[in-house]
Amino acid sequence: MEFAIEIQDLKKQFGDFIAVDGISFSIPKGKIFGFLGPNGSGKSTTIRMLCGVLRPTSGKGTVLGLDILQDAEKIKQNIGYMSQKFGLYEDLTILENLQFFASIYGIPKKELGCRIDEILDLCALRGRENAIVGILSGGWKQRVALGCSLLHKPALLILDEPTAGVDPVSRRVFWEVIHTLSREGITILVTTHYMDEAESCDILGFIYRGKIIALGSVGEIMEENNNKNIEDIFISYVEKISDIKVRGSFRDMKDHIE
C-alpha cells in the first residue's frame, strides 16, 4: 500500500512542555483521516510539523514520499493547507484572494482564470466573487479558504478544524466538497471536534496529551468499543486516561440539574 503520510516517533517539545510525545501513524493514499483529540492535545502541532513549518524535536516522517526534515519546500508545493485560524486576507475580495494564492503557487497566467472558475464552482462560491472576505459569514469564509488551498491541485489536503464555528447546513456543504475530493483520489487529513463529521471519515486517530491512544478505521473503532457512537467513545477514552468524570450526554446534564 502507498502512504500519503508516514510518521514515526514524532516528538515536539516547547521548553520543557511536550506538546507531541512520540506519535506514529501511516495514512494510505486517497483516504480521509480524521484526527481527533481534546483541546491542546497536539493536533495542530503535529500538522505544523507535517507541513514543514515546525521542526520536530525528534522523530522522522515522510509526506507524499518527501522527507519532512529535508524536503519541506517541496512538500509545500504539493499540499493544500487550511490553518485553524482563518488565514486569508480579510481586506481582499474572494477573487483577489484566489488570484493571489494562485500566483503564489505559480499557476501560469493562461490557466489561472480557468482554474479559478473551477474552484468557484467546486466550493460553491459563485455570485459573491467581488465581496470583501472580511464581511462574509463563517461558512463562506471557510469555503473560500478551502478554495485557496485547492488551487494548485494538491495530492494531500490538510484541514485544521475547517468547520469550527460553522452552522450545520454549511458544514454539510463543506463536507460534500471533502468527499468529492476524496473520490477524485486526494488524501485528506482533517481535524474536528464534531463527532458526526468524524464518523464519515475512513480512518480515525485519537490523540490525547500528545500521544495516540487509538487508531483504526471507523468500523474497527466502533467494534472495539461495543458499537457505541463515536462521541461516547471519545468521552470514554478521555475518562479512562484522566480522572475526569464526564456526564454522559447534554440531555442528562439538563435533567440532573433540574
Partner: protein, 378 residues
Amino acid sequence: MNFQRFMSIVRKEFIHIRRDKASMVIAFIAPIMMLFLFGFAVKIDIENVEMAVVDWDQSTASREFVQKLKNTDYFIDKYYVSRDQDAIDLIDRGLVKVAVIFPPGFEKDIHKGKEAEVQFLIDGSDSTVSRTALPSAVMTANQYSVQLKTEAMEKKGAMAMGGKAGVAAKARVLYNQEMDSIKFTIPGLVGLVIQNITIILTAFALVRERERGTLEQLIITPIRPIELILGKLTPYVLIGFMNFGMVMILAIVVFHMDIQGNVPLLLVLSACFVICALSMGLIISTVAKTQLQAMQLSLLALLPSVLLSGFVFPREAMPKPIYMMGYGIPLTYYLQIIRGIVLKGVGIEYIYQQVILLILFTILLISIAIFRFKKRLD
C-alpha cells in the same frame, strides 16, 4: 527568485495600503503634516523678533537704522531703554530676544566717513533666534552702508569712493555661542520625515500578517523569504520616493529651500536612504509580535535618530561616547549628505565617505531583515 510570486506580493500589498485608512494617512498626509509642523514652528520665530533699543546717540541716523531693522519684518522695536544693563535685563527676563545699542557719536562717525559701530546683543539660548538674528542684523547694516555710500557719492562725487563710510554691526551672542543658519533645519527635516514615515509603514507590514494569522497560511506556500521581503518592500520604496518628492517640493515652495548642488545625485542617494529606512522597519517587523509592539519599537528606533544624528543638536558639541553613537545611525550620514548637497553644493568627492557608509548600512540592514525572516513558526 520567482518574478510572478514577487509581483503577486507587491500587488497584494498595494491593495492593503489602498484599503487601509491608517496606512493612507501615514503615507500621504503625515509627511506633509510633519513638515509643516516642524517647519512652521521654526518659521514663526523667524519673523517678529522683539527687540530693545538703547540709543546713546539719539540721532537721525540711529532712528533711520532702527527703521531699516523694522523694515526687514524680522525685528520689532518693542522697548526703548536708556542703559545697556536695562536691555540685558529685558533679555534675561525673556521679554526681548535681541537688543541693539547705538554708541554716542554714531551719526558723527558716519558723517566723518568713518565706520560707525552698532552693537547687537542676541539671546543665544533660543537657537533659532540666535541662528537668524545675526545674519539679519549684518545684512541690514550692509544695506545701510551701501545706501550711505551711494548718498555720499552723489554729494561729493567719485572722491568719496575710498571712504569707509558705513555701519558695522558688531554682535555678541549671549549664553549659547553655537550658531547655525535656519536653512540648516529644512534639509535635515526632509531626511527625518522620510525616515519616520517609511520606518513606521514597513514596521507594520509583516507584523500585520503575523497578528492576523495570515502569515501561517503564507509560509505554508512555496513562497521564498526573499520574494516575500522584496515584494513587501517594493510598494513602500515607491511610497517613500513619492514622499521624498512631495516633501522636497514643499520645502522648496513653502520654505524657500534652494538646492545648490547636483539634483540627480541627491535623488540617487535619497533613494538609497529610503531603502535603508525601510529595512529598519522590516527588521522591527520581524521582531515584534503585535502591531502595538511594532509601534513601540519604531519609536525606540526613531528617538535616538532624532537626538543623535545631529538633526537638533550639533554632534560636535556632544560628549565623545554620544558622538560615537551617532555613527551607528544611518540618518547621521544622510543628514551630512543632504546638507552638503543642498546647502554647500558639494559633489560626491566631498561626501563619498558618508555615501559608502550609508550604502554599507543599507546592505547590512536588508541582509539582517531577510536572515531574520525564516519560514518557520518556532
